[in-house]
């Protein structure tokens, strides 16, 4: 039996390639489904852990408030205690476990409202963890005294990294828009707006429509850090 046109070697090769491509496609779509299911599991586990975290944070907050109340009440008859307690508060302020208020700046970063062109890297249109790190680093360089992103106070152990489409700070998943509040000198606004600073971020604003606004405010509130500090390896 003759296969005619379909029997020619180049056509056979082409047909095999189509078969291969289709088979690979099927395998990939199965994999994608599995990945999606795994991602769903991870998200569910993360949500449970986050709920647990909120419960623990609330419990710790209650205990600390009660402890501080009893400490200050017991203060009277004990000598030298008031000095010690004052020093403790100043260290808590430095550690970031106390809410602060003062003049400063509010910086808002948001993903671009534009849609990526065909074949373009979609991350060019998104706020990245590195953008937030650069802004925060510049705020510290400019003399900021306290900084928080979407309500997460930045402390000595805080890192800012990307995970599954969100940015994680203090084990909290944050979503855009990212609002960075900082207490510090009025010059922070000029520093952040200076054309030779945050050049990579500003290029994305210019070329891809990323949103970046800075405004000076007479009063801003930076909430306390609600987590704990790891000191298992630290000796002093």
């Amino acid at each position: 039996m003759s296969l005619g046109f379909f029997g020619r070697p180049p056509v056979l090769l082409a047909l095999s390639l189509i078969g291969l491509a289709l088979a690979t496609g099927y395998r990939l779509s199965t994999q994608s489904l599995e990945t999606a299911r795994d991602a769903g599991d991870v998200s569910a586990v993360a949500a449970q852990l986050e709920a647990e975290q909120r419960r623990l944070q609330n419990r710790l907050g209650e205990l600390q408030a009660e402890r501080d109340r009893l400490r200050s009440r017991a203060q009277g008859p004990q000598e030298g205690l008031s000095g010690l307690l004052a020093e403790l508060i100043s260290q808590q302020v430095l550690a970031g476990t106390v809410g602060l208020t003062g003049p400063g700046v509010v910086v808002v970063l948001d993903d671009s409202p534009r849609r990526p062109l065909r074949g373009e890297d979609p991350t060019l249109y998104l706020v990245l963890d590195s953008h937030l790190r650069d802004v925060v680093n510049l705020l510290w360089q400019g003399g900021a005294e306290a900084v928080a992103i979407n309500g997460e106070r930045l402390v000595v152990s805080s890192s800012i990294y990307a995970a599954g489409g969100t940015i994680v700070v203090n084990a909290a998943r944050l979503a855009p828009p990212y609002e960075i509040v900082a207490i510090g000198p009025p010059e922070l606004e000029t520093l952040l707006k200076a054309p030779d600073r945050l050049t990579q971020l500003k290029a994305r604003v210019q070329n891809y429509g990323l949103q970046f606004t800075v405004r000076r405010v007479p009063e801003v509130t930076v909430p306390p850090y609600k987590g704990g500090f790891a000191t298992e390896h630290l000796r002093w």
Partner: protein, 233 residues
């Protein structure tokens, strides 16, 4: 005169079909490859960061439990004899001072040596990665000076000169961190991790991570004062 007859190509249906088939194959292969690359990068990235996120959440909750136990114990003691245990206060005060960079600290950890000329953002990314890996205290410097990092430390400068909180540092650079040497080493050295990226981008650099049983970090050298912030009422 020689007349050259222009030969019009005869339509060859075999060729046309082959052309169409090749076009289709090309389209399918490219589509699949794109899909495959996207799937690989997406799943590779998300699996890694998912694991990191979950580990972070679990550790954060464990730290909270430890703090809760301590607060409960102190509260029980306060309720029992209505006196503040000075020793407990001093222990807490010193722990906070160690966290805040105001006491010299030591412990197991790692030393990252960078024989190259990093830009400030590269140092910043390294510090971020160390914090991510659970570093409990960090200092940046060179053989002459080590600068302990505090919560408000900023890294500036340019390629080949690094400013940490106004202190100028030249290379070779060292970043020392106290924490689990094993965890930090694995985080930094993982495939496709930050060190792999740095080595790939700068093949002439030598970046090494050495675990150590004992690392000592100095006290933060600057004043930490508040000019603008007040306690929230």
């Amino acid at each position: 005169m020689v007349k050259v007859a222009l030969r019009r190509p005869r339509p060859n249906f075999g060729h046309v079909s082959l052309f169409l088939v090749a076009l289709l194959v090309g389209f399918l292969v490219v589509t699949q490859l794109r899909g495959q690359l996207a799937a690989e990068s997406a799943s590779g990235r998300s699996q890694l960061s998912d694991a990191r996120l979950l580990a972070d959440l679990i550790e954060a909750n464990n730290r909270l439990r430890t703090e809760i136990t301590k607060a409960e114990q102190e509260l029980a003691a306060l309720k029992g004899n209505s006196r503040v245990d000075v020793d407990t206060l001093v222990t807490e005060l010193n722990r906070l001072k160690a966290i805040n960079g105001l006491l010299e600290v030591s412990g197991p950890g790692v030393e990252v040596e960078i024989l190259g000329n990093p830009e400030p953002f590269e140092m910043l990314d390294l510090v971020n990665e160390l914090r991510n890996a659970g570093a409990e205290a960090i200092a940046i410097g060179n053989p002459q000076t080590m600068v302990r990092l505090v919560y408000r430390s900023g890294i500036g400068g340019g390629r080949g000169w690094i400013l940490v909180d106004g202190i100028l540092l030249s290379g070779p650079y060292y970043i020392r961190a106290i924490g689990s040497p094993d965890t930090i080493l694995k985080t930094l050295e993982r495939r496709g991790g930050l060190l792999a990226l740095l080595r790939y981008t700068h093949p002439d650099w030598v970046v090494t991570v050495t675990p150590a049983d004992r690392i000592t970090l100095p006290v933060y050298p600057n004043q930490l004062s508040f000019k603008y912030a007040r306690l929230m009422q």
